[in-house]
Symmetry: C2
Subunit: 225 residues, 2 copies
């Protein structure tokens, strides 16, 4: 049984990687920066994306978001308040997004053309494990971690942090009541992924958001146009 599972898993991942490579090529051709946001449920991906979408739009950028959840379209509705086009992907029991879901939802997205976007944000299903294995063709994988979660998460979920291009610490406004050990968290992230860009943010107070937005604009400016 185990051998069959390992083989089938390998075959699924291989198929996913092939489609992700096609998507990656398409994003590059269309000149859109695609970010895949991965974290535990409740880390605050949606709360972090709200000001991100709003601010980028205010600066004249064209942004859109795909949002993965098992059930409900709560997050999509929250993000749509930014004015950006947002599409919910309900996975109905699947604990991650895969390249096929992205491909399908991009295809049927009325009024949204990749080539007319500067940024596409993909909010993955809240899960620190399986999303790490599924390449969505993204330009940048972002691992998020909140100050409430425990500083050893990077050590416990090395695959995610090791495959991430940037790390975002969320909810810095409640770092103190949570007893968050900042030095330890930074040390653990750097142990798994040395030199990774780390942003310390609060969606509530806005702290750290300026640095994050500057990073996005810098990464977008490097895309072929």
């Amino acid at each position: 049984m185990t051998t069959r599972i390992v083989e089938l898993r390998r075959s699924i991942l291989k198929k996913n990687d092939e489609l992700a490579a096609t998507l990656r090529q398409r994003y590059a051709t269309d000149g859109v920066l695609v970010l895949n946001l991965v974290s535990s449920p409740g880390t605050g991906k949606t709360a972090f994306l709200e000001p991100t979408l709003r601010e980028l739009r205010a600066r004249g950028s064209r942004v859109a978001a795909l949002v993965g959840d098992l059930e409900t379209d709560n997050d999509a509705r929250r993000l749509a308040a930014s004015g950006a086009p947002v599409r919910q992907i309900n996975t109905h029991g699947i604990c991650h997004l895969d390249a096929e879901m992205i491909d399908k939802h991009l295809a049927g997205w009325e009024g949204v053309e990749l080539a007319s976007l500067d940024y596409l944000f993909i909010e993955n299903v809240g899960n620190l494990v399986c999303p790490s294995s599924y390449d969505l063709g993204e330009s940048i994988r972002v691992a998020l971690l909140s100050v409430t979660e425990g500083e050893d998460k990077p050590l416990k979920y090395p695959t995610l942090f090791n495959s991430a291009d940037a790390a975002v610490i969320t909810k810095m406004d409640i770092a103190e009541p949570c007893g968050f050990d900042r030095d330890l968290a930074l040390k653990n992230i750097n142990q798994i992924r040395p030199g990774i860009r780390i942003f310390e943010t609060s969606a509530k107070t806005g702290s750290g958001m300026e640095e994050w937005l500057a990073y996005l604009e810098e990464m977008a400016s490097r895309r072929p146009s």
Copy 2:
């Protein structure tokens, strides 16, 4: 491909259910109350289990714990400080515990006999999705949710909350700085699982722990002995 996955998944779950039924029978014969704790990473399962193990031991109960994590034995070391026997299960990439892992780790656990225990706590891998599908033969499935995670988690992860026997809200001490909406959280839990026992706790201040311990003792007293 999808059909093959669904079939294989069904076959894996069926096999798991059969072994879980055997384990359940064994727990009953041995008179041990087995609890399976499931939550998001960072909800505070370990911090909640620390005083639970310590207090039950102080009252003369015989307790032990199995702790699932992808990597590291941090949690097992934390729990072992209670003096209870604790065994780490490293899943190395698997995002949940299954009945076979439990069976294997019970078998090779030096110095620990199920029949000599009152309580066995199983701390599952931090994940709100896949652990819901894997029966470990537990007497009580506990879904944990922290005040930092967002009140709509029960709606977004209905399978877990719908299959849980008790719900524990953790980190009540930081409910206020987190802007936790208690009424909404209780409403959402009850919408998915009407009438479920809910404990509002703080491992830091100890609030709610007395009620939780009384519940455990009540449930244990109902076991055949």
